[in-house]
Symmetry: C2
Subunit: 137 residues, 2 copies
């Protein structure tokens, strides 16, 4: 996923291409790590001092729907990052301080031998947590 493709997706789905959306997309493309709504506000407040959370959350939600962003929840907070370029299903090793990630190759679902048939499965989550070298230094 790159910014040009994200813009294309937005327009194809009938969403307007606004300055705020442009900057949000660029921010995630630049940072390539999990960010909270508050962090988005902080990054963009020099350009958009009055940027409201309504706008931030609505756009984050649209970006997730379009597959532009991936979402997770860390410590009770929603976090978002640019979808990894590989495109295929994957999981993450995540720095709890800065949101930096590393892709984990295998998906544990393939190895599960437990009988899951009693449940109608809708999804799963596998994340490894820690602190990256910058954040422990």
């Amino acid at each position: 996923m790159d910014v040009l493709r994200a813009i294309k997706l937005l327009k194809e789905e009938g969403y307007k291409y606004t300055d705020k959306r442009k900057h949000m997309l660029q921010l995630f493309a630049d940072e390539k790590r999990y960010l909270s709504a508050r962090e988005v506000q902080e990054f963009l407040k020099t350009n958009f001092p009055g940027l409201s959370f309504d706008t931030i959350y609505r756009n984050l939600s649209i970006f997730v729907d379009l597959g532009i962003l991936e979402e997770t929840e860390l410590d009770g907070e929603k976090k978002f990052r640019y979808t990894c370029p590989s495109g295929k299903h994957h999981h993450h090793l995540i720095c709890l301080k800065c949101g930096k990630t590393k892709e984990i190759d295998a998906c544990p679902m393939e190895k599960v031998t437990t009988d899951l048939s009693e449940f109608q499965i809708t999804g799963h989550k596998f994340e490894i947590y820690g602190y990256c070298s910058q954040c422990t230094a």
Copy 2:
């Protein structure tokens, strides 16, 4: 973990054995599934109409510290369940509606081949989500 052992642990660590704690422990022992703070309040409100969230959360936190309860976070909400009797490290298949669980045998950490050395690992989470037979019927 059974209620008697939980009570023993509480006393050993210098906590008082109160009626509210007794009922909370019994509730989790009976239900054997993930419950939210609000659900705890609802279950106990006939016996304790004025039971405050301060009390509920403080006790939940103590129980987690003592290993009596396990904690997770689903959809932005903290959920708690009685620690599984097996005692060893495990993961869960979880019903998103009622909190019922099934233990998953394998831990995916054993199979990870990705190099994790760039991070100082502190933990991981593996959960499978779905709806149990009662909740889909």
